[in-house]
């Protein structure tokens, strides 16, 4: 059975800082998951990935990740993506402290 399509966001790591970034509707990158642009169909997802990989000297390791809409804003689905929006659980470091 084909997997049900979930909304997608494009994410990667910033080349200079190494931290997690998300692709926005303006064609730029943000540190906030909720500001990511959401692809709602497989076709949109393909276009999104194409657009997000046009920054090879700014963002590395770009991929699509599942998202869900919460109050109209994208939120992560998989626990790995949830951790990526926060930082490590053992210290108050990373996004949870900075964004």
């Amino acid at each position: 059975m084909a997997r049900k399509f979930l909304p997608q966001i494009a994410t990667g790591n910033d080349l200079l800082e190494g931290d997690v970034v998300y692709f926005t509707e303006q064609g730029d990158w943000t540190r906030k998951h909720s500001d990511a642009v959401v692809a709602e169909t497989p076709e949109q997802a393909e276009t999104l990935l194409g657009a997000a990989t046009l920054f090879p000297h700014q963002v590395v390791g770009v991929y699509l990740a599942d998202a869900q809409l919460v109050n109209g804003k994208p939120a992560p689905v998989h626990f790995r993506e949830i951790f990526r929006t926060k930082g490590p659980s053992n210290y108050f470091h990373g996004k949870q402290a900075e964004v």
């Binding site: 080349l15 200079l16 190494g18 000297h57 626990f79 790995r80 990526r84 490590p88 053992n90 210290y91």
Partner: protein, 553 residues
């Protein structure tokens, strides 16, 4: 300790300069990520979940006070004020910025350190018994051997593109504290019947997705033949090791698929050829290495009686002290696992305390153990009380070495891009569940090791209790193995059955420990001995009471 020759110093400095140029070219867009990634990995720089991570080599886990102090400086200036000790006796910084890494490498070079060969399909940092040169049970200090291998394997042109990474460990003691049987090559220093020094050579050990205990390929290798023989193993592996499948590329698979006898014949044949082709190792080089590991000048002060021990100090002496070859000395293991802490994490302030203690009280030597602790290897017994006091002020006094809260945990999904589940919070919660140190002492020797993915950096296969964190349909799930052993009686732990959810894993571990306390014949029977006596069934019964009932019905 080994100190850099002019050649070593110039080599390391040149590599920093080269990497600085590579980073500049990456930042100005002349290198793509595909071109740059292998270059940064050759210099120990990974891109992890939330940031870059720099893995710094600590050859065979030995460093001095000045080096530790420099690590503290790096942690403060370019990171977040701490470092993480690894199961290969190295240290990792979790938050460096790409543009700063060349400066960090220069700062490392200032104290004869680097991050070369801490990643990639090359011969990795050679590990050794962390009690080397100090342990009472030692036949010989393994570090001159480890240093010789380090020099031979560093930038060895033939072994820069091996099928997969390659790990070597050396022990000079019969009690194996270096997990040699879980290495690509494990060397155990032995003497033959004539009393001549040599090595027992083990190959094909490893953990990861296909855990295997290494096999003896040579009972006795004369010392002078070491490099020609190692070169032969690597040559055979380099040519015959599988390159078609990353997961079958380690030498353990070659040993398994080819058979030990056949592989041994090929190694011996290559070795015989090497003996005629290779120049023997320069005697001057060997003499220089040996001299740099000469024992320190021992302090012959009397050992005072300590009449009134406070309970904390007494418990520290019970667990954190090991027998030194000099009876008036002791080996002090400093635990980096306070209750609720992150295993292996050391703050810059703690690094400075350790540097200071090493310089004042341990002949300027420190060791990092594969169990993620720090060793003061040469401490006069007269200084133990003052050292304990300083450690207590720094929060480094936890008296739990070898006990249930002395847990190995890989960084897991709190940091690592490869992880499938978290490790650190599981370790923290287990140590909190057993926070009563007296109860821990009653439980006795018990090694819990946790990996956050199948690659097994947390050595879970050789934990008395091993925990493996996996992603099961988008949820963290933890499998338990029992009966693993990383010592001279090495064994791979056996899986108990289905895994446990994140909030079920700590209670599951508590049930195992309680079952052990019920079953053991006496307080002297350690967990592993009880397991070997009774097997897995009594533990499965407490782990899976429901299936037990079903079977009985």
């Amino acid at each position: 300790m080994y100190s850099y020759s002019n050649f070593d110093a110039a080599f390391v400095r040149d590599r920093v300069k080269e990497f600085r140029g590579q980073v500049e070219r990456r930042l100005d867009g002349s290198l793509t990520e595909d071109e740059f990634k292998p270059l940064r990995l050759m210099n120990g720089l990974y891109l992890q979940l939330h940031a870059y991570m720099l893995r710094v080599a600590i050859p065979y886990g030995t460093l001095n006070g000045a080096q530790m102090r420099q690590l503290a400086h790096i942690a403060d200036k370019w990171d977040k004020g701490y470092g993480h000790l690894t199961t290969r006796q190295n240290i990792q910084f979790n938050w460096p910025k790409l543009k700063d890494v060349p400066d960090i490498l220069d700062a490392l070079a200032d104290v004869s350190m680097h991050a070369i060969q801490t990643s990639g399909n090359c011969i990795r940092n050679v590990t050794a018994d962390h009690f080397a040169g100090a342990a009472a049970d030692e036949i010989e200090d393994p570090r001159p051997t480890a240093e010789l291998i380090r020099q031979w394997s560093t930038d060895h042109p033939e072994f820069a593109y091996l099928p997969r990474k390659f790990k070597v460990a050396v022990t000079g003691a019969p009690n194996d504290r270096a997990v040699t049987k879980a290495h690509d090559i494990g060397l155990r220093m032995v003497r033959n019947k004539a009393g001549e020094p040599g090595y027992e050579v083990v190959i094909g050990g490893g953990l990861g997705r296909t855990p295997m205990i290494g096999k003896v390929v040579r009972d006795f290798l004369p010392r002078a033949d070491l490099l020609a023989y190692l070169e032969a193993i690597l040559q055979v592996y380099n040519l015959s090791g599988r390159r078609d499948n990353k997961y079958k590329a380690r030498i353990k698979i070659l040993v398994h698929e080819t058979g030990l006898e056949e592989l041994k014949a090929r190694i011996e044949e290559t070795f015989a050829r090497n003996q005629t082709l290779l120049e023997p190792v320069d005697a001057g080089v060997v003499a220089r290495i040996n001299a740099s590991f000469a024992p320190p000048e021992w302090d012959r002060r009397a050992v005072p009686d300590i009449p009134h021990l406070d309970a904390g100090f007494r418990s520290f002496l019970d667990t954190n002290i090991a027998a030194h070859k000099q009876s008036d000395y002791a080996i002090v293991t400093v635990s980096t696992k306070p209750i609720g802490g992150t295993p292996g994490d050391v703050t810059s302030e703690q690094m400075r305390v350790l540097a200071d203690l090493a310089e004042r009280y341990s002949h300027d030597e420190l060791r990092i153990s594969h169990e993620q602790n720090v060793i003061l290897p040469h401490v006069h017994r007269a200084d133990l009380a003052v050292i304990y006091g300083r450690l207590r002020e720094a929060g480094l006094h936890t008296a739990n070495i070898g006990l249930v809260s002395d847990i190995i945990a890989c960084p897991g999904m709190d940091y690592c891009a490869l992880a499938t589940a978290r490790s650190i919070p599981v370790a923290q919660k287990i140590s909190e569940a057993f926070s009563d140190l007296q109860a821990q002492h009653d439980i006795g020797d018990l090694k819990i090791k946790i990996s956050g993915c199948i690659n097994a950096c947390g050595h879970h296969h050789v934990g008395h209790i091993g925990i493996l964190g996996l992603d099961r349909a988008g949820v963290e799930n933890y499998q338990i193995t029992l009966g693993g052993d990383g010592t001279e009686t090495a064994a791979i732990g056996e899986r108990t059955g289905p895994g446990f959810a994140y909030d079920e894993i700590v209670p599951a571990i508590e049930r195992i420990v309680n079952a052990y306390l019920d079953i053991r014949e006496s307080a002297e029977e350690a967990f592993l001995d009880t397991y070997r006596r009774v097997g897995a069934e009594p533990f499965k019964a407490v782990l899976y009471p429901e299936s037990n009932k079903a079977n009985a019905a």
